[in-house]
């Protein structure tokens, strides 16, 4: 295999993303794409470091884990000893240096509460949260696209009016209250679905539904607006004048252009779920994921565990954003060129 061929293969991944470039432009485009990804990765590193730094200092300012860990009658000496053992008696800057050194080797230290590596706990809980988010937000995304398109195709039609009303309701109901309503209806009154824990596949239904509904409401509105905007554009009229099928006009021409805002919001919904909404939902339904872990870590002033969770969520958020940027660029090669 010649070096030219090897290089071509190396660049083929990037080239395939920039679908619409001529062969002559492909190598150059692949290089641009690589630079683009490296730049976004560098931004991501800054974000993760920033977030973890903030969490490190804030948690140390607002509380003292030793107060909680020792019984009320513990002596001052006992408290000092405990503080020393945890390394909390060192100057804050020194603690920070140690912390950063640990992060660099992926060692976040032991959870103060469970006395085992904090990252182990995080990695053990993460799959449950990932599952809940994937099912909940995934369902919201998959449902919102057809519903939003139908609403956009027939403004003021039955589907449009219904989705608008339901969406507004969905946006107005606080998530915790929605969860409680669903428990009362499906758990207590009807007795159809389990409301607590994660022992069977059925257990995911209510928490996923609670997580999905507000996202679905937001997504439908965005799909609807984006599609309405695109369907009114001149190129759609031209596509219709070409005698193309309705599916082609709506699905290929309009949806491709509407995809950018839809994808952006979808990504935000995933990040928003991971970084916040799962805390509420997992607490309501005792779903053993990261959200529940966060609540427990805060209750116990477990700084180390909290740092590990925040670091992980920040990494996920950055990763999702990077993936979105790349997909965005694959859909619209003009991104970053203008």
């Amino acid at each position: 295999m010649g070096p030219a061929l090897a290089q071509a293969r190396l660049h083929s991944f990037g080239s395939r993303l920039a679908l619409s470039w001529s062969p002559a432009q492909r190598g150059w485009q692949a290089k641009r794409l690589t630079n683009f990804i490296l730049q976004r990765l560098w931004h991501g590193v800054i974000v993760v470091l920033g977030v973890t730094t903030i969490v490190f200092f804030v948690t140390r300012v607002i509380g003292d884990p030793v107060q909680l860990m020792l019984p009320v009658e513990a002596t001052l000496e006992q408290r000092a000893l405990m503080r020393h053992q945890l390394g909390l008696d060192l100057p804050m800057l020194q603690q920070f240096v140690q912390f950063v050194r640990g992060v660099a080797t992926f060692d976040f230290g032991d959870s103060l509460w469970q006395r085992r590596p904090a990252m182990d706990i995080v990695l053990q809980r993460l799959p449950m949260t990932a599952l809940l988010t994937a099912v909940g937000i995934g369902a919201a995304i998959l449902l919102s696209i057809p519903l939003g398109i139908i609403a956009a195709l027939r403004p003021d039609g039955v589907v449009d009016r219904t989705t608008v009303v339901v969406s507004l309701a969905g946006l107005s109901i606080p998530q915790f209250w929605l969860g409680l309503l669903l428990i009362i209806l499906f758990g207590v009154k009807l007795g159809w679905l389990p409301t607590s824990g994660a022992r069977s596949p059925l257990h995911i239904v209510l928490p996923a539904l609670t997580l999905a509904l507000p996202s679905l409401a937001r997504l439908i509105m965005v799909v609807r607006t984006a599609m309405m905007d695109e369907l009114n554009r001149q190129y759609v009229k031209v596509a219709r004048s070409k005698g193309l099928s309705g599916l082609r006009v709506v699905g290929t021409h309009a949806l491709r252009n509407a995809a950018v805002p839809i994808l952006t919001l979808s990504g935000w919904e995933v990040i928003g779920a991971l970084a916040g909404n799962v805390v509420v939902v997992e607490t309501i339904f005792a779903w053993p994921g990261l959200g529940l872990t966060v609540v427990q870590a805060i209750e116990r002033q477990d700084l180390v565990l909290l740092q590990a969770v925040v670091f992980t969520v920040a990494i996920l958020a950055v990763g999702i954003n990077l993936a979105l940027d790349i997909i965005h660029k694959a859909i619209d090669p003009r991104v970053g060129i203008r």
């Binding site: 619409s20 470039w21 001529s22 062969p23 002559a24 432009q25 403004p155 554009r233 001149q234 190129y235 009229k237 031209v238 596509a239 219709r240 004048s241 070409k242 005698g243 193309l244 099928s245 082609r248 290929t252 021409h253 491709r256 252009n257 859909i331 619209d332 090669p333 003009r334």
Partner: protein, 337 residues
């Protein structure tokens, strides 16, 4: 028996529902296009000329609706819905080029995709054959290196190039009729001339019938065989192009012609038609032009009927300008009263 016209529109009425009520953008238009003919439709913005052609293409969408009228293609009714005919004819036998080439192409699809989708749909071509044909079409409209350019996105072309691509796309299905809706309005003057030349050349080479929608009388003089003048949703005058320019019968046509800049006239100032086009939701009773018309009299409050002036001429006016004596100068004098 004479063969039926290629396209025939009879008493077409298109209405739009707005918050202020229903108004008719097209109020009973009848016209026909013969094979090989170039028909110009002229009129000010809002006169209904584009809406008429969009009705033919089936592009009228809510809040617009076709209220009434028949459209026939080669004598066969263009069947369809309230919003226009089905795509069977529109797109395959009738193609349309739009005014704004900058926004007429999908920004996220390569021009190759946008041309080949027509070939796949109407010509049943597969990927490779469609690509080959698409680059042939691009070459036809004067784009160099067409094979490479198929992979370009619209933003990589200039406005004039995009209009060429639009024309290539319109010709992909080998239509018999090309509707060009102000194809040069959005372009630079030098580019306009190129596009006009291209349209004329392709029309002759491919034996196309053309409907040219424009407000540019110069373009009409250059390209058209016959002209229909529209005002406030109606055709007020139709005539072969030389006769129309020589001796307009409708006062509005005369006004339009007088508002054209002339090389041989040193007067300096352009004459304009007094007033502005009427609000389509609040048209004057009877002849819609009477409020601006220098020849208006009391009977203009009744709807004017279209009078046949012979030799394919027609005018909808109670007090048309006198037929030409010699060179149409007299008509111009009358109109200036």
């Amino acid at each position: 028996m004479t063969p039926p016209p290629l396209l025939e529109i009879e008493d077409l009425v298109v209405s739009f529902t707005t918050r202020r009520g229903v108004f008719e953008a097209v109020r009973g238009v009848s016209l026909h296009v013969e094979p090989g003919e170039t028909l110009g439709i002229v009129g000010e913005s809002g006169s209904g000329k584009s809406v008429t052609m969009q009705a033919v293409m089936g592009l009228i969408e809510a809040p617009g609706a076709i209220e009434r009228g028949a459209m026939r293609w080669n004598g066969e009714p263009l069947s369809g819905t309230r919003h226009g005919p089905r795509a069977a004819v529109a797109g395959r036998e009738i193609a349309m080029v739009f005014q704004d080439a900058m926004t007429s192409l999908n920004p996220l699809l390569t021009v190759g995709v946008q041309i080949t989708e027509v070939l796949r749909r109407h010509k049943g071509l597969k990927a490779a054959a469609a690509s080959a044909r698409a680059s042939e079409l691009l070459r036809l409209v004067g784009i160099t290196n067409p094979e490479g350019r198929l992979h370009y996105l619209p933003h990589q072309f200039s406005g004039g190039m995009r209009q060429r691509i639009m024309i290539a796309m319109a010709l992909a299905a080998e239509p018999a009729l090309l509707i060009a809706d102000e194809p040069t309005t959005a372009l630079d003057v030098t580019i306009q001339a190129q596009i006009v030349d291209l349209l004329a050349e392709l029309r002759d080479r491919l034996h196309l019938s053309v409907v040219l929608v424009t407000h540019d009388m110069g373009l009409v003089a250059e390209l058209c065989d016959r002209v229909a003048v529209m005002y406030a949703g109606r055709i007020v005058e139709t005539a072969p192009v030389q006769e129309l320019f020589a001796a307009p019968a409708h006062p509005y046509t005369a006004g339009l012609l007088r508002s054209m800049p002339r090389l041989d006239d040193s007067a300096g100032r352009l004459e304009a038609i007094e007033g502005s086009p009427p609000d389509p939701s609040d048209l004057p009773e009877g002849c819609a032009f009477r409020t601006r018309c220098p020849r208006a009299q009391e009977d203009c409050i009744h709807d004017p009927l279209t009078t046949d002036l012979g030799s394919g001429r027609g005018v909808a006016c109670w007090h048309p300008l006198a037929p030409p004596v010699a060179h149409g100068q007299e008509a111009r004098v009358h109109a200036g009263e």
